[in-house]
Symmetry: C2
Subunit: 457 residues, 2 copies
């Protein structure tokens, strides 16, 4: 079955305007992790609000939080009995360092060989934009048969610290029959897939201090604790020899895959050489006895995302560093709970920090793991929409990333569908993030098809 011809015609007619909108949005450096960028995150929210207004949405406004603002807009004229769809995306982006590895400036979008290069191209401005444009296409020609609400968050990249509060506060206004999230990937351009679960995330920023000042390594070395070594030993002991996380009780709530899901996972095409090439690595590591797809999608992990101590300049400085910082992000799977893992991490630290060393821990975001039942009726609509655009039946996958999906489904009491067109080589969170434009246009068509399908239910 071919895509609805009016959607294809819309893409044809509006292509240049849509690309110009995408570029304008990508030029705003809305890095939520950097406090100095707050005004730019706010500018991104305002830009998004403008997109929604131009698309014909009503009640468009910024939803303020103690951090960065989200954006809301709705179109509720589908008539009595029509279902309501809430579409989720986020307008904030990751930091850009190391900025010298970018081949073009991260906030000066360009299209090279059919790929849009910019921070936020695929994660998540591009994926949010095709949803807005798909709804706009249907609304503008009077064929939008579902009520649509948009909720575009501004703190996803820092672990959505205020998102659940926001959902609870606006629960009635956000009420819906189904949630559609556009922030995931597919196996490849030729093998479309649907994510049916995402890992949770709980992260910590840990500082250890061994002295009030850096000490001369000749005068004091060999007698005083070295903060770099203390931090390194903590980091080195996060995993045991079999690659398992050493937090006490960490695996207690981890649910094994059901036989059916395990079979589906095993059936997924996986080319280890291609996987390593995409990652740019020459070896794979991780939990013993689990396949790579299992390790990224179905198993919890601990990753150290930063480690800093002492002298980082050119050459050598003969000191014993007094202070060290490391940041660790735990990815969680059902039924792990962020607050329990936080407690486990504190217990783990307490038993490992040597005497005379001060340690302080800051929580840096917490998101519970999320899953959508494969047999939910709304899933059939998503499968059909993707089949229509890609011409082949999508596979089901588990994604390793984390988002606020669990809270969305739980607070709004609605199934969460993941429509995402990212690809494994998109370099999200890394230099030279890209979006393959062919995927963007297919995403727009699939988003429109999904709204049509959901209107038929």
């Amino acid at each position: 079955m071919a895509p609805a011809p009016h959607l294809a015609a819309y893409v044809e007619a509006e292509r240049d305007r849509i690309v110009a909108s995408l570029f304008d949005w990508l030029r705003i450096p809305s890095i939520s992790a950097e406090p100095g960028r707050a005004s730019e995150v706010a500018a991104s929210a305002s830009f998004c609000a403008g997109l929604l207004r131009e698309a014909g949405f009503e009640h468009v406004e910024r939803l303020e939080t103690p951090g960065a603002p989200a954006v809301y807009g709705d179109w509720l004229h589908a008539g009595a009995g029509a279902p309501t769809v809430l579409i989720y995306g986020h307008h904030d982006v990751q930091p850009v360092d190391p900025v010298d590895l970018w081949t073009s400036p991260p906030f000066a979008p360009v299209i090279v060989d059919g790929e849009c290069l910019a921070r936020g191209a695929i994660d998540d401005k591009g994926q949010t934009l095709y949803q807005i444009e798909a709804a706009r296409a249907l609304r503008s020609e009077g064929s939008l048969t579902v009520n649509v609400k948009f909720l575009v968050e501004g703190e996803e990249e820092v672990g959505s610290p205020h998102f659940e509060d926001l959902l609870v506060r606006h629960r009635e206004r956000l009420g819906c029959d189904v949630v559609v999230v556009s922030d995931t990937s597919m196996i490849s351009p030729e093998i479309p897939s649907i994510c049916v679960s995402m890992r949770g995330l709980v992260a910590f920023d840990v500082t250890v201090r061994t002295s009030t000042i850096d000490l001369h390594s000749g005068t004091w070395g060999g007698t005083v604790p070295n903060a770099a070594v203390v931090a390194a030993r903590l980091v080195a002991s996060l995993h045991d020899a079999s690659g398992r996380v050493t937090l006490p009780g960490f695996y207690d709530r981890v649910q094994p895959l059901g036989a059916g899901e395990q079979a589906s996972l095993d059936a997924q095409p996986f080319d280890e050489a291609e996987f390593m090439a995409q990652a740019g690595v020459r070896a794979l590591t991780g939990e013993a006895g689990r396949s790579p797809l299992e390790r990224t999608g179905a198993r919890p992990t601990a990753e150290v995302v930063g480690l800093t101590s002492g002298y980082g300049g050119v050459g050598i400085k003969t000191i014993v560093p007094a202070c060290a910082n490391f940041k660790v992000a735990f990815r969680l799977v059902a039924d792990q709970r962020p607050d329990e893992v936080a407690q486990q991490f504190h217990t783990w630290l307490d038993t490992r920090v040597p005497p005379g060393v001060d340690v302080s821990v800051e929580a840096a975001g917490a998101v519970a793991p999320a899953a959508t039942p494969v047999d939910h009726p709304a899933m059939a609509s998503l499968v059909h929409a993707i089949e229509t655009v890609w011409g082949t039946t999508p596979l089901f996958t588990r994604e390793g990333g984390s988002g606020p999906e669990e809270a969305l489904g739980r607070v709004l009491d609605a199934p969460v569908l993941f429509l995402g067109v990212g690809l494994p080589g998109d370099r999200i969170h890394a230099p030279n993030e890209r979006m393959v434009m062919a995927q963007f246009w297919k995403g727009l068509l699939a988003a429109g098809e999904l709204l049509i399908e959901l209107g038929l239910r």
Copy 2:
């Protein structure tokens, strides 16, 4: 016995000019570790040359090296049969970060409560200046009875990479009967002491790379090697459970202390609470079964001076870092050899770096350990000079720091005397480096007394 009255009179008359010279020199940010400071290290060399010329020294010139220049000057008019003394100091300084911990700018010297605060105050511009002024005092009144040569290095703080070549190249011109080094400390203002050995140093800058780019920790976490963790495991395994360095053969050449030296070490006053207070620590660590003084002076060590990987900004960035760097400085004692330890470190790395991880190592300086026999006749002159000024017999100590002393003694075939007035609380290499001015003036008197004593031999 009181100090020579003319030296005291000189200090009285010249005090303001000397302090002004000290301040002018300290204002030059001659940080040899920072390539961008090369012109300022050169300016410091020129300033030092000016001091020597004003002091009446001849043949003053910059001795160029492939790195930063040293400064030479001599006064060779003591007459036939008079001994020649070569005085060593260095005019380069350590980096100043973390600069926000300084209570006053590091290159804006001030005197507060009798302490001069500035980078280089005690290490080593202050200690070099009192030597120059002592020689100037004796020369200006015609009582200099030894030939004096000054050699003031510009790369001491980066491990003296070109110093031995320079000594060899200028061996004849630098020929002397005794070397005096002013770059060490005393036990306390009330307990003068003489350093009789210094540890050697060999340092490495190690970079590990696990991927071509930082990877998204959700998509790839749990399957790919994490550079921060690889580096942390290397750092954590530098020492075994008893605090011994794990390099193969590291202790093979370490000479145990002789019974006499062990007794002298054991007799040294040591207040553990005071030691910890000076270091700003609440616990001591290190090699099991050795006292703190033994560990800093008589035992070799490995200290990690820097460790950097991944995201170091505010909050969290969900990546798997692709690259990590650590810097490690080994302090060596007799008879360890820097080149052998370098080989041991490479072997150690080879057996520990996991498969698929690239590692590169840059050598960052190598200095052999140095020792002066306590019973050498020139030592009696130094003991006498210090007794004269402090009014009490100095103890002998071993210093943990490292300098080019071993090469000086070996290449020039002369005993090396350490006259140094630093104190344990001087914060060398750290923020708020200081020199206690009372020690500086006593150092000037003792340096003069030493030249007088050596002229009597």
